[in-house]
Symmetry: C3
Subunit: 348 residues, 3 copies
């Protein structure tokens, strides 16, 4: 594929500085870029690399107005880069139909132009939308609905009655709709609480490899439109994740917790059950959340506190051993003074 720089600038809504007719043939990171390729600098601290790169053009922030390189200047270089990448790596789709080595229930309903690979299982009454791709080893239980243009990668397991929206991307090993972890003690024995709810996943959701999303005990576990979940994340029964939220790898969200819209949970965060996390909240990596979090805040720590307060605390904690010594020292000095004063009083 070849594009003139001006075409790319138009595609991303940017302005060319330099030769707008130069031809771009590919996209690369700044260190490895070669002639003919376009790269980007999103972080101002990497601007120094601008002069060294072999790239023919660089996408930069619109504050940059000149350089030795051809530039596309934009509001958000990272976003523009994503769009150029999408242009050079279009997701093409050619339907392959249903492989004879798959097993599709005669009671299932298949859309047009689907691709169903060998060793896929589709259960009774499940509905597979137009242009859906099911890679080898995908298991679809009964009464599942999968919206059009969705892709389920190899060895994904979808339990019965799950609803999945349009344009979902579900990576390998993901499990959706497994029983929630619901037991109640009768003496020491653990009695199972039947998990009879479902999972509902909105449009444009992406779910990372080996993530698990449990079905509700009663009602629904809900993943909102546009949510992006990384690998190895645990979403417990009856959780709700609001639209456009970002859940980084290895996060665990306990039962019945409600995550707001546009929330970001950093890697390995744990959230206790029955909590409410407000819209636009950011939680730092490895934090443990045991209380509701107000909207628009940033929180870190285990237990999580205000992010800036956490930073101050984290810096001072290694000083505690020294503080203990200082405290003991002050106590001695104070006792000495008290003794002096007390003897002075007696003298009087």
């Amino acid at each position: 594929m070849k594009k003139r720089l001006k075409e790319l600038a138009e595609w991303v809504g940017g302005v060319v500085v330099g030769d707008e007719n130069v031809e771009i043939t590919g996209v690369a990171p700044i260190e490895g870029a070669r002639e003919g390729e376009i790269t980007f600098v999103a972080n101002p601290k990497y601007l120094s690399k601008l002069d060294d790169t072999q790239a023919t053009a660089v996408i930069v922030s619109k504050e940059i107005v000149s350089a030795k390189k051809n530039l596309i200047c934009v509001e958000n270089p990272y976003l523009a880069f994503a769009k150029v990448l999408q242009l050079f790596h279009p997701r093409s789709y050619e339907p392959r139909g249903v492989d004879p080595k798959a097993w599709v229930s005669p009671k299932a309903k298949l859309g047009r132009d689907v691709t169903i690979f060998p060793f896929v299982y589709v259960g009774d009454r499940s509905e597979i939308g137009d242009r859906v791709t099911l890679y080898p080893g995908v298991y679809i239980g009964e009464d599942v609905v999968i919206g059009e243009d969705s892709i389920l990668h190899a060895n994904v397991s979808v339990y019965s009655r799950t609803l999945i929206g349009k344009r979902a991307v579900i990576h390998s090993g993901v499990v959706i709709g497994s029983d929630g972890f619901g037991f109640v003690k009768e003496g020491r024995r653990n009695i199972k609480i039947p998990q009879v709810g479902i999972v509902e996943i909105g449009d444009d959701v992406e779910i990372g490899a080996n993530t698990t999303i449990d079905r509700a005990a009663l009602g629904k576990t809900v993943i909102g439109r546009g949510v992006k979940i990384d690998n190895l994340v645990q979403v417990a029964h009856n959780v709700t994740i609001g639209e456009d939220s970002i859940i980084v790898a290895q996060v665990g969200i306990s039962g019945s917790t409600r995550i707001g819209q546009n929330v970001t949970l950093g890697g390995q965060v744990g959230i206790a059950g029955h909590l409410k996390i407000g819209d636009n909240v950011m939680v730092g990596a490895q934090s443990g959340v045991a209380q509701d979090l107000a909207p628009n805040g940033a929180y870190t720590g285990s237990p999580a506190i205000d992010h800036r307060e956490f930073l101050r605390m984290a810096l001072s904690l290694p000083k505690v051993p020294g503080m203990r010594k200082a405290l003991a020292d002050l106590e001695k000095r104070l006792a000495k003074i008290e003794a002096v004063i007390s003897s002075e009083k007696k003298e009087k």
Copy 2:
């Protein structure tokens, strides 16, 4: 399904307050319940919702003696609710036999009335008990034994020589019997210690999606009867988990550690190797355990300490930056006094 309220009360060992002949047709959470349905209130702080629910009857604690609703009063409302749910959602089983798209070794031994779905693999000499269900994509190695009425969901992998008890429920993506993580350095090279032991899983165990249980180096990794393990848990080689213990999601248990009976490990807990965790211990979420824990205690933190001590500590740690300032201030004031006293002495 329809049941009169008195039938349900009998089933759970409770007492009806109100109309014992009213008909119940389903079960629902208190917010969403409609006429004809039964719900429950386990937590006294939700008792206020009792008057608002549309439910026809409510299971409550026996301390409640009257309300505008029909009640079933019991010792443990949550347990009674679980039992009513089991009644309305019985686990029915109809054997489907062995699908011709499965691969079952001619040397394997199948019980009566099994269900073996397409794309299941059963290795040589493995024994599959009566009424066992193996969902699509299940892999059973050689010399495996699976007890009667067990269910292995889609894409579970069971390595050779694993023993699984009766009525086990193994969720999708679980891996049982993979090699323990045993290496020893020879210079910088990592030399593998062959993992030649097995995994033994007792009766009535449930294992959550994508959990991994490694085989022993020598001897056995043991999951006791009635143990319930949530999703994405790591159980290392030669671990023992005692009967009726509860392991919440994303816990990691290191090699050769022995977990007692009726223990509860909160989400994301990590336990170091070669430790002994006593019976009935509770460990709070995200804790890191690096020492043996005495029975019957509650522990939290990383490193884990007594739970109440942890709570006190967690509250005071954000005060440390302020304490540092206070300490420096005290030091100044003290030095000033010392100077005064020292000059007084000179005066004398």
Copy 3:
């Protein structure tokens, strides 16, 4: 299998103390060992068990020069034990060919003496090396290369264009080459950054069950020769792990971070993105690393600090509530003294 003790000593480069002609028939842990078996004591604190074991011989450190048992004395007993285990449990291999229930692209290239089980999928143009074993449910995308003698256990998923070296052992449920977690906000919407790079895995790598390794955004995610990764580990896009490093279970490594050679990351460690971890670094379990780590150090904590400093800090933190009281008490005593001094001044 039977070996004389002197043969074993020769095999591990050790010296026999006792009867060098005694016959050894197996290997066992020190508690369960029976007559005819050999065991080992690596940790000096278990030396007391030496007299109680039923084992016929014991591998010990060369400092031990006599005991009631037959001994093999070596530099590193654990390493010698691993080698004796390898001798008694050789990894035998008999090729089984390609099962007719597998699906192998006519455009794929298979080496000699491969074993391809039922329900394996091998995509177009992929190259499977000599004596490779692909267990049931393994998915190999297009243009994948797998080096000779590698073993992929059941239900492993390998996305297109992944490169895997020789003698790799990939455990069940592992996902290699899934999309990295790359999104950029356009308003609140998450725009996907196409992940068009690959994963490259060196020779002699072992990867634990259900671990996930994402493909690079651009370029490569690299796992170096001899690296050993435990279960449920997350390796993000563009990460590099240096040769011979050890990554324990449930670790998460964020995007573009470079781990040095011979590094050890303890269980549940989290490493932020774009960092550089030096060679030979050790990071304690559950640590959170947010800054570069200099080579050869040991670090613990979240945020991670020097390991010994962490130990001192961890011991003193539970004292903080007491320190707060002591501080308040000192303040009172000091105020009292200040009052006395101030009144004395007035008296003068």
